[in-house]
């Protein structure tokens, strides 16, 4: 049977990894900081997929992002999704050539430009992760926000997600702006916005602070994967422990007995 997934999301901007709280970014450290604090051949042991997003607000600085992506993915033997600032197929291809298996699209998902269809035609729909940022609204329940959460799309989120159902996408990454970085747990009510017979896996994000939050998400039938982008809540072996805890409690995650570090020919 198909297993559920634990996903770690890294936010990168201008040479640094960032902590996001309600989409306000705080600089945490560079690649060296990350490797020192997480040891990447080690962290990929604890997760099933890595998402790396270029969240730079002013300009993409794509070269810097791509070189980080290449460096990071060299010893990371799990599926990798990357995105941020992807506006055409060339940019998507650059990500795919730098270690990504999937491309994450956020704002352009809602464009009528045909970009999603083009990308799906060229790389397959499994290659596209639609990232949707949701915020509670006093008038429409939930709204979809684009452009780094700064601009609300007219209408309610339910209609937007319904519309998205017709798009050739491989995963739907649902993020709650209100819970983002708070550690208060996922907003499970966003799941009620989903179409009944949605044909793509759902990755739930925004608010995870501990293993119990992961479990609450994964126990919901509508959820295929849970994500955290919190750089500090799971530092060191935090994700390892959370994963062990989830497996012990009967959550169906992929199981591996060995440690990839034991398989490395020349430890560095």
């Amino acid at each position: 049977m198909l297993k559920k997934r634990l996903v770690f999301t890294l936010l990168f901007s201008n040479g640094s990894f960032m902590l996001s709280r309600n989409f306000r970014l705080q600089r945490i450290g560079d690649l060296e900081w990350l490797q020192r604090n997480y040891v990447f051949s080690n962290i990929s042991e604890a997760i099933d997929e890595l998402v790396i997003l270029n969240v730079s607000r002013n300009e993409p600085q794509m070269d810097q992002f791509l070189s980080m992506l290449k460096e990071l993915t060299r010893t990371c033997f799990i599926p990798i999704a990357a995105g941020g600032w992807v506006r055409d197929t060339n940019q998507a291809q650059q990500l795919l050539r730098s270690g990504a298996d999937k491309v994450v699209l956020n704002t352009p998902i809602f464009w009528e430009s045909g970009l999603v269809e083009q990308l799906a035609g060229q790389f397959g729909r499994q290659c596209i992760v639609a990232s949707v940022d949701l915020a509670r609204s006093e008038t429409v329940g939930f709204e979809v926000r684009v452009d780094s959460g700064q601009r609300a799309l007219p209408g309610g989120a339910r209609e937007r997600l319904n519309w998205l159902q017709e798009k050739p996408i491989g995963d739907l990454y649902l993020n709650s702006i209100d819970r983002d970085g708070t550690g208060q747990g996922y907003d499970l009510e966003v799941l009620d916005l989903l179409p009944q017979d949605l044909g793509v896996p759902v990755i739930l994000a925004g608010g995870a602070g501990n293993a119990k939050h992961f479990e609450a998400g994964l126990r919901d039938d509508r959820v295929d994967a849970v994500a955290t982008a919190h750089l500090l809540n799971f530092v060191g072996d935090g994700l390892h422990k959370a994963r062990e805890n989830l497996i012990t409690r009967g959550i169906q995650l992929p199981v591996r007995d060995s440690d990839i570090r034991d398989l490395r020919a020349t430890p560095q």
Partner: protein
């Protein structure tokens, strides 16, 4: 881990060879990524990765004569070969994407798409980590946990019926060949290079088989 293995990764310009290359390098194998016929003919160990369209991949293999080099190397000269994902399917007799396309014919099996009725409510493509039931005495799965999990991304699969070699099965509504091994011919439908420790162990087993 012996560093004497030299792994020749065949690049037909359709798939990402980067992660396959990284995985073999991590294991200490000498590696080359090539689209040169002579390099493939003289290879000790051939790896054929692949993602995408069966027909397009076969056209590239034929036009470039890389297909012939792979067949000569593996079937005639007994060089060890591993086909990954579409690479596994290309080793078969035929694929049925946009009509029937002849494959390399190194594995006597056919490739067909999943149908909605088969996968019983599952989504197509089959994407994610799923468990594999290794065939008895498998070299590829030696030392791996029981029913190990591997990462799959595919809409087509090799039919297990009547396969001459040993097929390890995966169930996605129905059983299909997740891996195949017979003498010097090895293939996996899943991506070992994306399956963490299980995948690296399997690639190590392949090198040592």
């Amino acid at each position: 881990m012996s560093s004497s293995h030299r792994v020749t990764i065949v690049d037909i310009g359709l798939s990402n060879t980067w992660s396959v290359l990284n995985a073999f390098q991590y294991l200490g194998a000498g590696t080359e990524v090539t689209s040169d016929v002579k390099s493939v003919l003289s290879a000790d160990v051939i790896v054929l990765p692949g993602v995408g369209s069966y027909r397009q991949a076969m056209e590239r293999l034929q036009e470039s004569r890389l297909g012939e080099a792979i067949t000569t190397g593996s079937r005639d000269n007994g060089r060890k070969i591993l086909g990954i994902c579409l690479g596994m399917q290309l080793l078969a007799r035929s694929g049925t994407e946009d009509g029937v396309t002849a494959g390399l014919g190194i594995i006597q099996a056919d490739v067909a798409p999943f149908t909605n009725s088969e996968v019983m409510g599952g989504k197509i493509p089959h994407v994610g980590f799923n468990s594999v039931r290794p065939t008895g005495g498998s070299l590829l799965f030696d030392g791996l946990p029981q029913d190990p999990d591997f990462y799959f991304v595919h809409s087509f699969r090799m039919m297990p019926e009547g396969l001459a070699g040993a097929a390890s099965l995966c169930n996605y509504g129905i059983d299909f060949a997740a891996a195949y091994e017979h003498e010097n011919i090895f293939a996996t439908q899943f991506h070992p290079e994306k399956s963490q420790a299980n995948g690296l162990q399997l690639l190590k087993n392949f090198l040592e088989a």
